[in-house]
Symmetry: D2
Subunit: 284 residues, 4 copies
């Protein structure tokens, strides 16, 4: 893995953007590893992700903003620069169902997630052993009716203390307050156990079973203040039939939840996701 | 293909049903080709489909009801008997989008649909050539604001005249009246261009595009008086990404619509579907 | 979960089998929970799986064989009787790649596998911690060139000591001897990291990458003496593109390996698989 | 649809390629609509597809080669320039199974294929009506043992006469000679009714049925002189079970064949495919 820089750009579409960016990197002797762009024709928007090898790149990243400013201003860009060697720090929130947690911790250990899992927070003590086995600090923060505010304060304190960049809700069954969400814009990923927008809200498997659908799904998305309405990152489905009882759906669904959440975390950590208009661009 | 009888049963679950039915067929020297059953444990219901070869079966099907009555009464069965050699007669309704129609007509010619397509009815004249090529009678029945009732009368007259058993709405964009639907209970199959219950109602691709979903779908279902709420027969999905514009979704979706509708028609024609509690049991 | 009996039957196809079996169960006051059958028309074979509730069944299972003998002889059946409450005991064999092991152990703990994992055996010591965390005995049995025979003796001794019914090769990279395989006919399940019969043998991901396929797969199958040629139980695939480097394929493939192996183990443990003609019937 | 130019590039990977190409287009006032690139790290190769709007582009495409030459030489590029308004002309070859032909002709009429179907050639007369209905010239060129050479001469004459750019083998069951293949390098697309490399060669469904696979597939690929060994463009699969007899597999497979072939033709016509090392890069 070379040490690389990743530039994410979002601006009105017009001529010359690719040329300007590529020329800038080239002038500083950067070797482009990946470049991908997207246009939303109806909104007239341009999106770009470009990644280049920092070996030989002759501009200190600390000076990047100053040097790049002229281009950014000319094209009215919103942009950010990331570095592949600076792995994001993630906290995983979980309630009783720990299949996504177990899955993420295993993937973390095998290096697949592209981020560092620094912390597990749960409103139940059950997952303590699992976190311990994978040597990730575990904090039990009970959430009772009436103490949500205090619980969130404690959670935020822990996130601050660990310098967390990304919050992963791995079947965490508590709704976060707008104040909490506002602290981590586009940095909280949730998994919902249905194919959104179908069966948003509670008990999606029960409702899927009652409706008699022939496929069930799972969705990972960024959390906003509209429950289950945030930008969708990934979805997957599996076939069911009349033979599948509710508990079969729950079991089949678990495998979907695990993969759609793990993919979302990995893509986020690789800085491959751009959000706009309540949608995601996932560069691949 | 042997000439076979198909018995579909629906009753409260209790001991001895399979034995009673299998023994009845056996006593009359029938060779069971397929037998499948299903229990809905939560509702305490039992469903069965049994198909046997009529070669050697020593009971005239005209006498079946009288002979089977004792068993049916004992187990409080709702049942029906079908014969594989009596292929259902289908009418296809279509509006401007004719991809499902073209697909169904081709499958009909190749013998895949297991029914006889006797009639194409459209509120536009466009599909006349296509129907003509496949030698299926075509009727143009315009539907204008204000004449829906008269149009439905004409449609029903045509269905009666052709002895139609099954109405297939192959992207037919008119809503049928409750009176029409009541004439063909569980005998009208529609295709909806979304993964129901997501995006029920109009313009599902537009709304899927706006919501930024990562999979789009199509659903075939029996028509009831609740729009897009009837028992689901089949669903399928295909992956989309931010690169897919609305027109790409429409195009990808067409391939889904074709297969989910064709499968539903075939399964219906093979008498493999039982409906209960607004769901389907699809025996395979 | 009621305590139930499962009867698996395999015989030449002829009239009256379903009736005879259903009547037998009915006469002894058994309530059939599931019944499924299959015919292989080209080979003239009949297969059946029937499961009934033992509550109220008036025949002691110890006397079943004697009572059922007349029917079995008449129809020339090969049959076996299983009991859902007697969960099979499984041993998992693993080498260095432990993702399938971790997955199976988690599913075991959550009760999903329908069997008891009694033992983990590895030719490397690495998985000891993981097995320990899930409280499953772990045995390190090194396999070196020249000591395979001794290693297998030790493995077989362990299997005997634990009364193992099923051996699961969860990415175990050693080939078992014919003598070993003969001890567990249709009781050894392997996962191969390709879509068999494509890329049988070593390094399937390398060869898939070189061939430029657009989907990669994984296969679970019973082990026979023909490497990768045993009866296939389950397969699944995932889409890849030119963007996927070899390591991406390996990573995507791991998720397939886990699910196809877990499904195979579960179905085997639920006595849902019948083997004939080097194929499987998987009742559902 | 704007009139656009598409530049496809293939060269050794090094710094500055994207910048040079983007700058070239920008200097001539071209607005880039899509740009995508790919690196094969192991082979040190770079691939690029860039498409720009010709409205406002101030270089006549007739002069493009002369102007672009310096860049192409510097980076040792193999490149070609296409124009979206110049739709490729395709000939479809078919034998008795006409499902892919019917599917392609319908898609052609609806504008989905992005090419012009100029010609249908068959070794049987059966498809004449179908071609006629879609108003595509049909030629019956019988192929008998002993006359293959003459038949190919006649086929090549027809292809020349119609200025054909792309040959689509839509279940054409004759093997083309090396001389024929050499005339249309990377311009002949075939569909094989299996998931290659599994079941290459004849009767793939029969062999899939015998092997007892749980998924069947179809593959579209460029034709080379190694039968079924050419660069794979697209593959798809569908689930089968023990209940699927050979004829069910054939029927399910037809739907796969149609979609993998149609996608390949469309992507080829949109100049989205680059071939190297017997693989394809399919830009999306």
């Amino acid at each position: 893995m070379p040490d690389s820089a990743i530039l994410l750009i979002h601006c009105p579409d017009r001529k010359g953007i690719v040329a300007a960016v590529a020329d800038f990197i080239c002038r500083h002797n950067g070797n482009i590893l990946h470049a991908d762009q997207h246009q939303d024709a109806s909104l007239g928007l341009f999106f770009m992700r470009v990644e280049w090898d920092l070996g030989g790149f002759d501009l200190d990243l600390a000076d990047f903003a100053a040097e790049f400013e002229a281009i950014a201003r000319e094209f009215r860009m919103r942009w950010r620069l990331e570095r592949s060697s600076a792995r994001p720090k993630a906290a995983i929130f979980v309630s009783r169902h720990d299949h996504c947690l177990a899955d993420l911790l295993y993937r973390h250990r095998s290096g697949e997630l592209a981020c560092h899992v620094s912390l597990v927070i749960s409103n139940h003590p059950d997952a303590s052993d699992l976190a311990g086995f994978y040597r990730v600090p575990f904090h039990h923060v009970p959430v009772e009716p009436g103490n949500r505010e205090a619980a969130e304060e404690e959670q935020l304190r822990l996130l601050d203390a660990h310098g967390i960049d990304l919050v992963v809700l791995a079947r965490y069954m508590q709704v976060l307050s707008p104040a909490f969400v506002a602290r981590y814009p586009q940095r909280i990923i949730n998994v919902h156990h249905s194919f959104l927008p179908a069966f948003s809200g509670p008990r999606p498997y029960h409702r899927a079973f009652e409706r008699g659908v022939k496929l069930i799904g799972a969705t990972s998305h960024y959390v906003t203040n509209d429950l289950d309405e945030g930008p969708i990152i990934e979805q997957d489905v599996v076939r069911v039939s009349h033979r599948d009882q509710l508990e079969d759906m729950v079991q089949k669904g678990r495998d979907l939840e695990k993969v759609v959440l793990a993919r979302a975390v990995r893509w986020h950590a690789l800085h491959r996701i751009l959000v706009y208009a309540n949608k995601t661009v996932v560069f691949d």
